[in-house]
Symmetry: C2
DNA sequence: AAAATTTTTTAGGTTTGTCTAAAAATAATT
DNA sequence: AATTATTTTTAGACAAACCTAAAAAATTTT
C-alpha cells in the first residue's frame, strides 16, 4: 500500500510544510531541500504518476489527498522520534530534529505505534507541534491569541471571541474571517498595535483591542 | 572518518558474521544477502579500495582491522535497538531483528551512546548475543553452564569449575578441554543427564554432575 | 506590446547499487 | 592429465536520484 523511498518521503514532507496556502513552486522546494530545480521537476513527475501530487508543468504543485495522508504519517514518525529523543534520551530540544530526520524513514507501522504507546501518546513534539495519531489525524486546535503570535509565523484564524456586529464590520473591512491566513509583520510597543499581512493584500495595521479577540492556529 | 552507505554496512556486517573461520566466498555472501554473485564482486572491489576488506580475485575475502571495527559498531547499533524494542516497546524476541535491520543504519554516534545509557548499558541482546561497547569492544566471555545451554546451540568450552584430577581424568577420557567445541543433542529429565556431540566424535553421554561444572561460551 | 529577467523544464551526464549473460579461473571427476 | 562442473569475474545495462547547461515558458519591466 505505502512504501516510499527516503527521497520521495523528504519531498512529500517538504511540500506539505510549504503548501500552507496555494501551490508550491519549483524554486521554493529546491531551496528547502537543497537540491537543484531540475531535480525537483524530475521528482514531481514521478510523484505525479504515483498520484501523490497535483502537478502541471509551470503551474506549481500541491499534495493530493493521498499525498497528504502519506505526509502526515511521515510527520507522525518524525515528531514521535523527536519526543522520544528529548524526553527519554535527554537530547536538547535543538538537537532532535536532525536525528529524527533519519529515523522518520524507518517505516514499520508497528514500531511507530508501539513507540507511541511507550511514550504514553504524547500530543505535541518538543517544539510544540502536534503529533498526528495513528490514522494520521492531526490535532488542529491549538489556538493562540494574535497578541502572542511571534513575528512572521503564519497562522490561520480559527476563532474570534467578540462576535458583535461592530467587530464583524471591522473584520469585514480588513477582509479577515475564519480561515484567513495571516502573519504578524511588526509590533509597536507604544500602543501594542501591530502590522499584519493578509494573503494577496498590502499590509494593514490593527489595534491591540482587535488583536486581543483574534485566535489563530498554526499550520504544520 | 566513518560514514558508509546502508549497502556497504550490510555487506560489512554479513562478512563479519560469516568469516568466523577462514575467508568468506562470493557465493556465501551472495546467499546471505540475497544478491547475485556479480554484485558481491562489485562491492568487494569497492570495500577493498576503502581498505575494509582483504581481497584478491578468486581468493575470497575477510575484514581488515578497520573493517572489523566498523562491523562491531554496526552490530552494536543493531543489538542495542533489538534490546530497546524487546525491553521497552515489548516486541516479541522474534520480531526485533527485522526492525533493527533498518534502525542499525541511522549513524549518529550520540544517538547510540545515549540510547545505551537510557537502556542502562545492557550487555546482551534479546537473543543472548553480546553488545559491543562504545569503543567496539565485545564481551567475549559470557560463559553459560552446560546445563543451561539449549539443544543444538554450539558452544566452546571456556571454563571448568572443578579442577580435581578425578574431574580431569573424566574430561580427558571424553576428549573435552578448554576450547573444545560441542553441542547438546538431547537432555534426559530422569536424571538430568545429556547426550552431547564433540566435533569429529560420536555422541557421548554425560552426567548432570559433570555438566554442572562445564561452562561454555557461544561463538558470534 | 516588446524587451529583459526570472522561473521552470528538457536534454544529456554521473554515481551507486543492482542485474543478466558470457568469459575466465578454479575445483572436482573421470 | 584431460574433461567436466562449479565458482567467480567481467562486460554491458538499468533504475534511482542527483547534476549542469541550454531551451522554453512565464513574469516583470520598460
Ligand atoms: Mn528525512
Ligand atoms: Mn519538531
Ligand atoms: Mn541492515
Ligand atoms: Mn540479535
Amino acid at each position: 500500500m505505502l512504501n516510499y523511498s527516503t527521497s520521495e518521503e523528504n519531498y512529500i514532507k517538504a511540500i506539505f510544510h510549504l503548501q500552507k496556502d496555494g501551490t508550491v513552486t519549483t524554486n521554493e522546494l529546491s531551496a528547502e531541500l537543497q537540491t537543484r530545480p531540475a531535480s525537483v521537476t524530475d521528482m514531481m513527475k514521478k510523484l505525479k504518476t504515483k498520484k501523490l501530487v497535483h502537478y502541471k508543468a509551470y503551474r506549481g504543485f500541491r499534495l493530493t489527498a493521498e499525498g497528504t495522508r502519506v505526509a502526515l504519517l511521515i510527520i507522525r514518525r518524525h515528531r514521535l522520534w523527536e519526543f522520544f529523543l528529548a524526553e527519554k534520551l535527554k537530547f536538547n530540544w535543538d538537537e532532535v530534529h536532525e536525528v529524527a530526520e533519519d529515523l522518520e524513514h524507518v517505516g514499520s507501522k508497528k514500531l511507530i505505534d508501539k513507540l507511541d504507546e511507550f511514550l504514553d501518546f504524547p500530543r505535541f513534539d518538543p517544539h510544540g507541534d502536534p503529533i498526528p495519531d495513528s490514522n494520521g489525524k492531526i490535532e488542529n486546535t491549538r489556538q493562540v491569541c494574535l497578541t502572542d503570535v511571534p513575528i512572521n509565523k503564519p497562522g490561520v484564524v480559527g476563532h474570534v471571541s467578540d462576535q458583535s456586529s461592530e467587530m464583524l464590520e471591522l473584520l469585514g473591512h480588513k477582509k479577515i474571517g475564519i480561515g484567513t491566513r495571516l502573519e504578524v509583520k511588526k509590533k509597536f510597543s507604544f500602543d501594542q498595535s501591530m502590522e499584519i499581512k493578509v494573503r494577496q493584500q498590502p499590509p494593514t495595521h490593527i489595534s491591540w483591542e482587535l488583536a486581543k479577540n483574534i485566535f489563530v492556529k498554526y499550520e504544520n
